[in-house]
Structures are given as C-alpha cells and as structure tokens.
Symmetry: C2
Subunit: 305 residues, 2 copies
C-alpha cells in the first residue's frame, strides 16, 4: 500500500486566514521553526494506479496538483482517484467532495448518517449527481470489513474496517436532524489493510480505551489525532472558550502517555491545529513528541507499506 | 479604489484536477506558454484597510495567504475582510464562504434568491451562523446603488449597483425550488464606484445589448466573462456536449466584435476556462485579444483606480 500525506493540518490549515496567534504570525513573517500545512488529506493506493482519498479536504484542488500520482492521464477527462472514504461530516472532511464535481465517476464510502447529512440536507451536493453513475454512495457499516472498489467496480486490493469513535455530529447539523441519525455513525476511525499490512487512520479521537490501543498496536502505521497539545490550548490562545475534550479531541500530551506501551507501529500525528506548539520544531513540546517515538506529519510525506 | 485579482480562472481552475485537454497536459509538463491560474477571486478596497471579496472562490484560503493585504493584524483573531458580494450561487462563486467559517464577523451581500439557496437549502451554511453577528446577510436589489459597509457598520466609501444579467440558477437548484425564486436575481453584474471611479465586474454574461455596452463604456475598468473562446469549445475538446451559450457565457471571440466601440475603459477578461486557447500566449487567439485592446487577467494583478 502506498500512502501520500497531501495535507496535515486541522480545519483552517496553517496559517489560518483569520488567525493571529503566535504560530500564525511567526510563519507569515518567516521566523517560524516549522512548515506551513494544508488541511488534512491522505490518499492511498493498493496497486499504484487507483487511488482512494481518506476524506475530502477543502484544499484538495491544490493538493491534487501537487501530487503527480493523482493527475489525469487520458484525454479529455480522467482521474486516478477512484473514490473517497469519509470518516465524518465536518466541513474540513467533506468540502473537497464539491471540488470533485466535474462529472468524474467516483465511489464514495460513508455511513448512512453522514450520507444523509451531505446528500439530503445540502442542495449543492446535486452537482455530484448530474449524470447517472457520477457519484455512487456505498454504506459503511461499523466494525465490518468491506473492500474498496475501483471506479469500474474492480478490486483495489484494499480492505477497510470502520471503528465508531465518537457520537457527536458537526455543529451545523441541527438537533432535530440529529434525532433521525445514528450516533455511532458520526465519527469513524479506519483500519485499512492491503497485503497483510495495516494503516490506522484516526483523525478525530475523543478518548482511547484498552481495546482501541490493542487494535492500534496491531497496525503498521498509525495516523492519529494531533489537533491540540493540551486541553486548554484554545482558551490560552484566546481563540475559543472550548477545551480540546469538548471539541472531541484527546490532547497530544495525553496521547503520549496513553500510547507508552504501543511500540510496534510507526506513530504519526496528523490534523494539527494552527495553535498547536508541536508545529514549532524549536519547542519542548515538539521534542517531547519525538522523544516519545511519535512523528509530526508534514505535507508531501510518502509512505510505503 | 484598490483592486486585487487573486484568481482568474473559471470553475475548476487551470489546470483542472480531472482534465487532460491539451492546455492542462502542457502546463503540467511545463511546456505551456502561459501561467497556471486559481479560480476567479477579486478583492477591492476603498480605504486600503477594509476589503470586500467579489464572490467567494473555493481557492480562497490559498488566495488570502498569497496576499498580505488580507492577513489578520490583531491577535487572537482578526481579518481585513469586511464582506463578500455575491453575483450568483454557482459553486465557484460561493464555496469560499464555507472557508470563512471561523466565527469572523462578515457582511454578505446577495439577492434574496441566492441567499435562500445558500442559507436555507444547505445545512452546512449553519457554520456561518454559530454565533450572533457572525454573518449578516444584506439583500441586493437589482438596479439600486447600495453602500458596502465595514464589519462595524462604517462606510467603506464604495457604492455598488447590481445589474441583472441572466435568469438561470445553478444546475444543483431543483426545478421545484426555482419556482419559488426570482429569475432576475440569478446572475448579476456589478458596478462598483469609489471616489467617482468605476469598476465593472461581470464574470457571467450570456449576451450583451446596447444598453449594457453604454453602461460599460462609462466604467474605468471592466472585468468581463472570458470563459470560452468560441461557442463550440467544450464540444471540440470533448469535455462536454454543451455550447458556451447554453452554459450562459458569451464567447470571447464574439465579445471582441461587440465591444469594438467601447474604447474608454481598460478591458480585462477573467473567469477563463482551462480549455480556452487565450491562456496560451503563443496562440493567435491570445494575439487577437491583445490586438483588440483587451487583456487576459493573471493571478496576482493589482490595479488602482
């Protein structure tokens, strides 16, 4: 399995358009010991020809152009992108779907609840259904392994299992709509397997338990929620009055402790918020992450499993 | 008035993610006599401090970062962007609104029909209304001059007049919804005036008549629909079976003829589709445009009126 990390930041990217926190100010000035990052986007392939996007970032247009694997090959219109697997309905996970609107056939994998939010509650999604066989929606049922199939229905060689992780739908989904949805379909982690090797993709993790740690210890690579360093980060930077936990993200500082015994996989933080001190390679928080055996993802990283 | 052309291409940008037309193939190979372009985005300011976006492009995040005028100045959160004027509800005109979701106060100017499509038919727009006074919607009434106001309600010095240009709503708006909307509110051109100087912004123009030509001859700068070179461009490149006219765009080759007597303003084509031969500076179509006194906009152009 080939894995391309096209973007590694949380929603808004780094820097974020309206943010003047110390990280965002310094990177705009060119005085920051770290890199800019676009919003989290990962692409995987079992055969090097058909690619699957894990979620669809708002930065997808630029991310596709930056990566030759994803360029079209045959005139007039073509794409190696066979499909998209959605782990939730947050805007930074789904807006990119609307960027893939130019009549290209695509398989989209989502839970029935996420599909209803996107397809039934947003008229703009009509652009994905202008012609028959444009976007085909495939239901994800949690805790069952399903194959990812190519645009023509062929076998990609990748099997996917979805783990329900959180029960909170995005803020934009109104309470009376939530009542019709299934809470365990709100936020997923994914275990993607190809040729006996496993990638765990968990960008939104509210908490971990022993059972989840055991599953992740059996993976070869973990891409894990690195949104915030500590629980009060947004409050301290005056960017919000909400804790990381209230927003559904286990802080990195706690993750380092909880994963102390998870030694087998390569462990990489993704979905890093612009306020997070681990973006700054000169800071003790960055060193703490590296000393604990974790890495901080950068845009453009390529992995092979 | 300051005018920044942050992006100049039609929907999809240039190159477009799934397009392998001769233009897109050549620019990816580095053999193209022309420049890449992000999706059309213009920003204007009367005082150099408060900025207004004309529509909200899907590439807005990158476009804001590329332009220091639009960077935040005050911690923790701030933006010089005071508002957005919408000329329609096409995805390449409105998706950028969702990128401006981080609780920043914004004035949005739109016709009642466009507001209904975005706000009432798309639950994702809830992210623009998470707190009171986040996005304030202001109704545009065609053929009346209204002032653009800053986020705090102050006078920006810019007056705006909307000209109804087309009566077709985007494809994603279902026929039974269109019945509740007002056709003259579908697609606007804008005349923006500041200190007696006028910018005409018309990215989607199905046809021109003498009355429109007279209005435009009184402008200082025209940013005009440059989507397609001729009526059969998409059919010839096998990208679609629709003519430019059917898609609501007067072809550039016809515009050159119709504007032969419009000599006063500086005339610039924007919203240029990836298939358009005027992107290629080695081609006769590009020379024809320049010989007729028109320019082909590029990302990053700055104008002062």
């Amino acid at each position: 399995m080939r894995i391309e990390i096209l973007g590694s930041a949380a929603g808004g990217g780094f820097p974020q358009w309206n943010c003047a926190c110390s990280n965002c100010l310094a990177i705009r000035k060119g005085t920051f010991a770290g890199k800019t990052r676009s919003q989290l986007q990962v692409a995987i392939s079992g055969d090097g020809e058909s690619w699957f996007l894990l979620n669809a970032s708002p930065d997808l247009r630029v991310q596709i152009e930056a990566n030759p694997c994803l360029h079209p090959e045959h005139a007039p219109r073509h794409s190696p992108i066979a499909g998209v697997v959605l782990t939730g309905a947050d805007l930074d996970q789904v807006l990119g779907l609307f960027l893939l609107r130019e009549l290209q056939p695509l398989q989209v994998y989502a839970t029935p609840s996420v599909r209803k939010i996107i397809r039934d509650d947003n008229s703009m999604s009509g652009m994905l259904h202008r012609v028959p066989e444009q976007v085909r929606w495939n239901d994800i049922l949690p805790n069952r392994i399903f194959p990812l199939t190519t645009a023509s229905g062929g076998n990609s060689g990748i099997g996917c299992e979805a783990l329900p992780l959180a029960t909170k739908f995005p803020t934009y989904v109104k309470p009376n709509r939530v009542r019709d949805l299934t809470a365990t379909e709100a936020t997923l982690g994914l275990i993607l397997e190809c040729g006996g090797r496993r990638l765990a993709y968990l960008p939104t993790v509210p908490s971990v338990n022993e059972s989840l740690l055991a599953r992740l210890d059996a993976a070869d690579v973990i891409l894990f929620d690195g949104t915030f360093w500590n629980d009060h980060e947004l409050i301290e930077t005056k960017a919000s009055d909400q804790t990381a936990t209230a927003l559904g993200h286990i802080p990195v500082s706690e993750t380092l402790r909880r994963f102390a015994d998870v030694q087998r996989p390569r462990k990489i933080f993704v979905h890093i918020n612009n306020t997070n001190p681990i973006l700054d390679e000169s800071r003790p928080e960055f060193r703490a992450v590296r000393d604990a055996g974790w890495e901080v993802a950068e845009d453009g990283w390529q992995l092979e499993l």
